[in-house]
Symmetry: C2
Subunit: 312 residues, 2 copies
């Protein structure tokens, strides 16, 4: 049994997991604008509360797994790079904190990579050995597995930067510094910035939108807004190009889609899969598409899988 923590942008999820089974879970506000380190006392309190409610204690736990939305060093110890939020945690000794406060070993991993591990170990893609995962969240997180091995790379970057593969070099510059990243053109944070520059925006219902995101575009399109319909078609081009990039880069049998966009799976999954099949060069056949169950759960399950196998 171990304790798993997912530092999301809005909420911090804490789960108690044994052998892929979620025994208990709580969520506390992230307040990510104020950083990560100042949240650690509340996280510790949350862990103790969760254990208490489950009628167990730290002594029964084997370790801690922490997922973060950034680049983690190759040894699973610390955070090397992150955009915008939680930057105060760069280089922080998470394992030292865990040993001191909780007396347990700790492993850190990128959240999308944790989600892929969770989905292939316990979730929708159980048993798959060649898979890519895309989380359409605030940004676009990805991870890749080849022959049963999750790609990490020399500096922890392999597989997780699929949102930072280019779809349009003449497009918006990304907050990572690269012109044309998929994430800057077609993610939750990228869409409103780009949409505001497109012709017809001022006449669209979206110009008055205050709760921007994937859902607002799809809803306005469904309600007949012409600008939103064009934007939806354009976003499908970017999303399909981004997925084709992953297929061409990593040669998967399965593409797992996750994140907020999947709340609209009924509307977009079928046309998206069709575009990908038309465009990808896969003479062996066509990768299957899977929608991940609950992305938050898959991240926590993946961290539990890693914590079970971690020596520190």
């Amino acid at each position: 049994m171990n304790v798993t923590i997912d530092f999301g942008g809005t909420n911090i999820k804490i789960g108690l997991i044994r052998d892929g089974e979620m025994l208990a879970k709580i969520s506390i506000p992230a307040r990510s604008g104020t950083g990560l380190l100042s949240r650690l006392p509340d996280v510790e309190e949350g862990i103790r509360r969760l254990l208490g409610e489950a009628g167990t204690s730290l002594a029964a736990c084997g370790g801690i797994g922490i997922a973060l939305p950034g680049i983690i060093d190759g040894e699973g110890k610390t955070l090397l790079s992150i955009k915008d939020k939680y930057t105060d945690a760069l280089g922080f000794d998470f394992a030292g904190w865990s040993q001191e406060r909780l007396g347990l070993p700790l492993v850190v991993e990128n959240d999308a990579r944790a989600a892929l591990i969770g989905e292939t170990a316990y979730g929708a893609a159980r048993g798959e050995r060649d898979a890519v995962l895309v989380i359409f969240g605030t940004g676009i997180g990805t991870a890749a597995m080849i022959g049963g091995r999750v790609l990490r790379g020399k500096h922890g970057q392999a597989g997780i930067l699929g949102g930072h593969l280019t779809t349009d070099i003449y497009g918006e510059r990304c907050n990572c510094g690269n012109p044309g990243c998929l994430e800057a053109q077609a993610s939750h944070w990228g869409i409103p910035l780009r949409a505001a520059k497109l012709p017809g925006y001022a006449d669209s219902a979206l110009a008055a939108e205050t709760d921007w995101g994937y859902a607002s575009v799809l809803r306005a399109s469904e309600e007949g807004d012409a600008f939103a319909a064009r934007l939806e078609a354009d976003l499908l081009r970017h999303w399909s190009a981004g997925i084709v990039n992953l297929i061409h880069a990593y040669d998967p049998e399965v593409v797992i889609l996750s994140g907020g966009l999947m709340k609209s799976a009924a509307r977009i999954l079928s046309p998206l899969a069709e575009m990908v099949r038309e465009q990808a060069w896969t003479p062996w056949g066509a990768p299957r598409f899977l929608a991940a169950g609950d992305p938050e759960t898959s991240v926590l399950l993946g961290m539990s899988y890693l914590a079970d196998r971690h020596d520190s």
Copy 2:
């Protein structure tokens, strides 16, 4: 000692190699428009001639290695997909041919993957374990190595389709079927097709060019042709985006550049590396750039490395 063969579009190179040393090499015309299978009698004759001139025989050889510009199955046995040329070799039993005609085991590999193996085993990148290679040839071939393992993937596609990662989804459709591939925008075959559609083309010296390619663009730019100068700047954007895509996908320490474009390395390598360093998200530092020595030799050396280690 073994015999290595590189089926290029213009010439078929045949090398006799022992422990990374090229003992002898010949080249015969490819006539690739007429297919591959009809060239096998000449290839066999070339092998016997090469061995005779080197004062040795098939009995002294351990195996054959064949490099092809296409997708090879995961077991190194046959060709799964190829564009335009040599399509008659799809599914051909190369090992059967070799056993029957030469009495030797045989391994087949993608030519860019062979070049990466040759460069890391014996060449400019000797000893590197995290590397990507780009061959700017007729098309744009790539390969990737992570932690000393060359990426192959479930269906033999991983790493070799870097020329088919997107740089501009609104750009030219590639002959692979995908809109916006780097190769369709910025390779030897892609450049003239795209250039002819760009504003100012008719007034450029390039409009009268009959020997199109990387060199003709760079030469016209150097001679003051305004259209060619704009095209060169645009091509640098595509090439750098393509390399950033590989860095983001595979997390290498070294980027090896090869192929015809490298004849102009003195002009483009420095600005290209500078653009890549500015754009790539590599908080650990910056990948080094290496220009491969002779790309033909690196392919043959890589096939020899594979033939030495192949059981069939």
